[in-house]
């Protein structure tokens, strides 16, 4: 009998896990905000900076990234546990709070994916746009309100940022407070919760140490063959959208989950509670498990998809080994030093490898040639250098020297070339 009660008490620690994971999300989120800048020209740079330069930055970001996935899963498990305990009768507030937290945590995850403004973020923002736009009746309006305009832009990023770091955390905080003040703290979070919560944190901490949070290529650098995938908590939705024609996606992705959450919130006042909640949660579990498995299988069975993921993983690994590439911010009225400083575009695109003053550089095994006295060499006139910036191969240069046709205008190339030919040892 006693061990049976003991067992029950341990099962009830799903509360403790959710509380600890929520705290981890709040703390790591606050820390990330100390470096992150929500603007389209600096978001990716600041996230790269957190990953590559800031001490413990990769770990903190990984805790936040995977923590959000674990949190969603454990809130879901928590809801199922409350259902099995018939909490919607015994403790209405506990039940409603858990359902609300589930919805809010999903929304937090959805808005969070956009913030690094990498290729994954780009696609996830597009999907959010499509889901909103496809809503019956209110679709076009919902889309405009979500994006802050008619296109995805800096306004969209600011909106997702404000929702993710201000609105949703405040709502989660309010729900948790409401839940707490209606019960004794000891009831909510006992020593058992502390133990299980700590174990869960240890597992997440080790996981985050081993697995840095993914960061795709920047939107500008992503190739057409880039394959985005959402985080684990959204794989079911991602896979479902493959089977659903066009506008119906919004119904499955937004309307149905919204109705299910609303019904579950209202459950304490409904009849046939066990049947309604049981079938909704049961269907939910079945859908999530089947769709997540299907998405895993379809990605692993197709060799071409698997190869592309391997390429992406290799590219991300290579990116991690490269030194951090700072953004250039010009606060001066004049863009170049009055009598011969490096052009701003040189500093932005060339200086990382060729040195701020053209002195060359070495990064690991790679040696980048100095540009001093380059004018004395054959085929290095201003026109030649402009041509070389467009098509390095035509001038006999090997990668990693690349074409800058997509990054620089003719005028900017000329400005760089005219500066380079003046460099002397």
């Amino acid at each position: 009998m006693r061990s049976d009660n003991d067992m029950r008490a341990w099962v009830q620690t799903t509360t403790g896990i959710v509380v600890v994971l929520l705290l981890v999300q709040f703390l790591t989120g606050v820390l990330l905000a100390f470096y992150y800048v929500p603007s389209v020209d600096h978001a990716y740079t600041t996230v790269s900076y957190i990953e590559k330069v800031v001490s413990s930055g990769s770990w903190i970001r990984s805790l936040h990234h995977y923590g959000s996935q674990w949190l969603t899963i454990f809130v879901f498990i928590h809801v199922i546990r409350l259902f099995l305990d018939s909490a919607y009768v015994a403790n209405r507030i506990q039940w409603i709070a858990a359902i609300l937290v589930l919805g809010l945590v999903m929304t937090a995850g959805g808005t969070g994916y956009s913030l690094p403004w990498d290729a994954r973020a780009f696609f996830s923002t597009r999907v959010a746009e499509g889901l909103m736009g496809g809503l019956p009746f209110a679709g076009p309006m919902a889309r405009l309100w979500l994006l802050g305009g008619s296109e995805i832009s800096g306004l969209t990023l600011s909106r997702f940022f404000a929702l993710h770091v201000l609105v949703i955390p405040a709502l989660i905080g309010a729900v948790v407070m409401w839940r707490m003040f209606r019960s004794r703290i000891a009831e909510l979070f006992g020593p058992r919760d502390a133990i299980v919560g700590t174990l869960m944190f240890l597992a997440l901490a080790l996981w985050a140490l081993k697995n840095p949070a993914p960061l795709g290529p920047s939107v500008a650098e992503a190739g057409a063959d880039y394959l985005p995938r959402p985080g684990a908590q959204f794989l079911w939705l991602y896979q479902s959208l493959k089977y659903i024609p066009g506008g119906l996606g919004s119904v499955v992705g937004v309307v149905l989950p919204g109705i299910v959450l609303a019904v579950l919130v209202a459950l304490p006042w409904l009849k046939r509670q066990r049947l309604i909640a049981g079938s909704l949660l049961g269907l939910g579990v079945v859908l999530v498990v089947i769709m997540t498995t299907a998405s895993y299988l379809s990605d692993h069975r197709d060799p071409r998809t698997a190869q592309q993921f391997a390429r992406q993983a290799a590219a991300e690994e290579a990116w991690r080994r490269q030194p951090f590439n700072p953004a250039t911010i010009t606060l001066a009225a004049t863009t170049t030093n009055a009598t011969g400083g490096a052009p701003v575009m040189y500093t932005k695109f060339c200086a990382n490898c060729h040195g701020t003053q053209g002195q060359g550089a070495q990064q690991g095994p790679l040696k980048f040639p100095p540009l001093l006295d380059v004018f004395a060499k054959p085929r290095r006139s201003v026109d030649d250098i402009v041509g070389l910036l467009k098509d390095p191969a035509a001038y006999g240069l090997q990668p990693p020297m690349r074409s800058f046709s997509d990054k620089l205008t003719e005028e900017q190339m000329r400005e760089i070339a005219e500066w380079i030919v003046k460099l002397k040892k």
């Binding site: 600041t46 800031v54 020593p191 502390a194 700590t198 901490a205 400083g341």
Partner: protein, 158 residues
């Protein structure tokens, strides 16, 4: 609840304290300020041939600094003193860091913030500033006057 059980229940929460200690120590490293790398680049001020006359000449230099995730290009005001063998002084007041202006009719530099005054050679005349305007390391290269930029904070430390 007597002392003993309350101490025991407190101990049961110790593992949780370890969680926050580990995040806390990471947070300390995470938030530790980054000192920006001092640049020792020589920045062009002007051609030597332009620098004539008894008056200080106001010039802007553009200095690049790596601060955290950005390379910032800042403009700084300096004064060339042709009367003092082309010495270059920073326009930053050594008192609280406002920028001094040259008052031609009164032949002095004045600080707009707290009324510090400096002579045409940069030396202190009066006011709360404790020293004259800071001279910047200068050299002449290929007929151009060049300086290394030193911030007020660096000059005060030195």
């Amino acid at each position: 609840m007597n002392m003993d059980t309350s101490r025991r229940s407190f101990l049961k929460f110790l593992p949780l304290a370890a969680v926050f200690a580990s995040i806390g120590s990471a947070a300390f490293r995470f938030l530790r300020p980054k000192l920006s790398a001092a640049t020792d680049a020589w920045l062009d001020v002007a051609s030597v041939s332009e620098l004539t006359g008894p008056q200080p000449i106001s010039r802007k230099i553009v200095a690049e600094q790596i601060t955290g995730w950005a390379i910032t290009t800042d403009e700084h005001n300096v004064f060339v003193l042709p009367a003092k063998n082309n010495q270059v002084v920073s326009a930053i007041c050594p008192h609280e860091g406002c920028e001094v202006a040259w008052e031609q009719n009164r032949n002095r530099f004045s600080c707009p913030c707290h009324e510090s005054y400096f002579a045409a050679d940069g030396s202190r005349i009066s006011g709360p500033a404790q020293r004259g305007l800071d001279a910047l390391p200068a050299r002449v290269q290929d007929g151009k006057l060049q300086v290394q930029y030193i911030s007020n904070e660096q000059a005060t430390r030195a």
